[in-house]
């Protein structure tokens, strides 16, 4: 679905790269995530892949088209949701979708059904200019799936949404993926990456540091932890111990043998913890 080889991009057209030497491939049916803090180069990469930014250096193939020689018809197979919502404020939600729908040559989804899907059906005939930020974001999101895209670009799909709506969006992404849609998403939210992505790329300062599945990452980089709450001299103590470090393992044995454990559970390292370990920086 996507092949990227040696991609560089500089807004100032010099050596000051926003994206440098990015390589990855996404196969059909996959949900692939770019995880990285703000300014890492996620949106820039999506911009080049969707043809909105000119390709300067490197090879990019998207849905079988070389992005250096794009054909307009390729966009029938692609859906793009933007980080910053961009809809016509003077048109209603429904009019926005109906206008956009008619720009495609392929069969499109029913606008009203989509509005219902994200809980905007009651404001279908309200001008989008009067919408809250979250509502505009949802409108931008559903607009990107009007043409039933084979490949779906989602730039920060849940950022700025309240948790209930964010989880609704995640469900829709999962559902569409189940129906066969390939997804490229960017996020700085480790939970989104963890929950949705088959594979994630850690990106920072325009460079991909590693690509793997969240599960593999946790297996390889994340040490499993055990959190134990135990009584020591009648004082409740809480300790987090690694199952890999010998010292921690010995300590755990010691606690178990004293037998005053109140509670004990294992805890996985989060993607963010792994991210910090790999890149030396956090996601915020």
């Amino acid at each position: 679905m996507i092949k990227v080889n040696g991609l560089y991009h500089s807004y100032s057209k010099d050596e000051n790269f926003a994206v440098k030497n990015v390589n990855f491939e996404i196969s059909k049916g996959e949900v692939f995530g770019f995880l990285g803090p703000s300014g890492a180069g996620k949106s820039t990469t999506q911009g080049v892949l969707t043809g909105l930014l000119p390709i300067q250096k490197g090879e990019v193939e998207v849905v079988g088209y070389d992005i250096r020689h794009p054909k307009r018809e390729m966009f029938n197979k692609i859906g793009v949701s933007f980080e910053q919502s961009n809809v016509y404020g003077k048109l209603t939600a429904l009019e926005n979708l109906e206008f956009y729908r008619k720009l495609f040559d392929v069969e499109t989804m029913n606008s009203m059904d989509l509005l219902k899907w994200v809980g905007l059906d009651h404001v279908a005939n309200k001008k989008a200019g009067e919408f809250s930020k979250g509502m505009k974001h949802r409108l931008t999101f559903i607009r990107s799936m009007l043409n039933n895209p084979e490949l779906w670009f989602l730039d920060e799909p849940t950022t700025g949404l309240d948790p209930a709506i964010a989880s609704q969006i995640k469900d829709i992404v999962k559902e569409k993926n189940k129906q066969g849609t390939t997804v490229f998403l960017t996020t700085h939210n480790m939970y989104v990456a963890d929950e949705l992505c088959h594979r994630v790329a850690f990106i920072i300062d325009g460079e991909i540091k590693l690509i793997d599945s969240p599960r593999n990452l946790k297996l390889q980089h994340g040490e499993k932890f055990v959190v134990v709450e135990h009584l020591e001299n009648d004082v409740l103590k809480k300790e987090q111990l690694s199952l890999i470090i010998d010292q921690d393992k010995a300590r755990l044995n010691e606690i178990i043998s004293t037998g005053k454990i109140e509670m004990m559970h294992t805890k996985e390292a989060t993607l963010e913890e792994i991210f910090i370990k790999v890149t030396g920086r956090g996601l915020e």
């Binding site: 969707t50 043809g51 909105l52 000119p54 307009r72 018809e73 390729m74 966009f75 029938n76 692609i78 793009v80 933007f82 910053q84 961009n86 809809v87 016509y88 404020g89 003077k90 048109l91 009019e95 206008f99 956009y100 008619k102 720009l103 495609f104 040559d105 001008k127 931008t140 607009r143 043409n147």
Partner: protein, 329 residues
């Protein structure tokens, strides 16, 4: 085609929401109505004749029955002034007409007829001969005003294009359109079409309100269409780099300067100075539309002027092309 129509319908919808399209559509009618009120009635338009003090009184009184006669010392200076004044000079019973060259056609013929009649039939004047200026002269205010409004309108059309593009730039919806199968050509035509429709409609409104008879509408259509491009291109070039309407309109308004300069230049400049307007497409538009309104234009003239307009427009486009293309991506 489907997509082009989609853009036009969207622009109409969006434009009627804030009355923009309605204002711009009403403007030519309003202007024409105001102009109509200002136009003096037929009887008021006069033929102005300048004479020397020593002109024989018989001729003076003869001329006074048809024209407003003024005595001057410096004939040449008076005639070269910006209004339409003809000179009548008498040398040994020979009457000569002095013109500047930029007077309205028809008026000269009229004066020639009057003078000719005087020379042939001597002082025996058929007093009952009256003439009205219908068919001969048109009120200059109506003629020049209509011409000005028609050309002015093309800029309003450009302004509509401008504002619809600014809307796209402001909401960053061009990016959304750029990830659909829409071809750039379709977008440009779709975004420009309404401006052209407004321009042509505005021209028709001006003609209808002011009431011109017998003019060749096909010639007018071709000429107005040709001059519409320049406003459209300027509208595009400003629109695609503006994300805020007030400053965009302010930039676009400066286009009225060459428009007004060209038209007033064409009206008031002496014939030998007209060439300094040759760079301006608005001058060429004015030139041919005037003859169309006077029912004097030929297709040859229409094609020549339109050709010149389109060549100048093409040069402007070459200069602005990069800016437009960059702005659209």
């Amino acid at each position: 085609m489907r997509r082009i129509l989609n853009f036009v319908i969207r622009d109409i919808k969006s434009g009627t929401r804030d009355w923009l399209v309605i204002y711009l559509a009403a403007a030519p009618i309003m202007f024409a109505l105001v102009l109509k009120m200002l136009i003096p009635s037929v009887g008021d338009s006069t033929l102005n004749v300048a004479i020397y003090e020593d002109t024989p009184p018989a001729i003076v009184s003869y001329l006074e029955t048809y024209a407003k006669v003024i005595e001057v010392n410096d004939m040449e200076e008076r005639i070269l002034r910006m209004d339409d004044v003809f000179g009548v000079v008498v040398n040994d019973d020979k009457v000569e007409i002095v013109t500047q060259g930029n007077e309205m056609e028809g008026t000269v013929d009229l004066l020639k007829t009057i003078v000719g009649r005087y020379q042939n039939e001597s002082v025996e004047l058929p007093i009952e001969v009256e003439f009205s200026d219908i068919g001969w002269v048109m009120s200059p205010m109506k003629l020049e005003g209509a011409n000005l409004l028609i050309i002015f309108n093309t800029i309003l059309g450009g302004m509509l294009i401008l504002l619809n593009l600014v809307e796209e730039k402001m909401s960053n919806t061009i990016s959304a359109i750029n990830v659909t199968p829409t071809k750039r050509k379709e977008f440009i035509i779709g975004k420009g079409l309404l401006g052209f429709i407004l321009t042509l409609y505005g021209g028709a409104a001006v003609i209808t309100v002011l009431g011109f008879e017998g003019i060749n509408y096909a010639m007018l259509f071709v000429s107005v269409f040709a001059i519409s491009f320049i406003g459209a291109i300027i509208g595009f070039s400003i629109g695609v780099v503006s994300d805020e309407p007030i400053s965009a309109i302010a930039s676009m308004k400066t286009v009225f300067i060459p428009v007004l300069a060209s038209i007033f230049g064409a009206i008031y400049l002496p014939a030998k100075w007209i060439f300094i307007l040759y760079w301006s497409p608005f001058y060429w538009a004015y030139d041919v539309i005037k003859d169309i309104l006077l029912v004097q234009a030929t297709w040859g003239q229409v094609f020549m002027n339109s050709g010149i307009i389109l060549i100048i427009t093409a040069l402007v486009f070459v200069g602005l092309r990069k800016r437009i293309v960059n702005g659209l991506s």
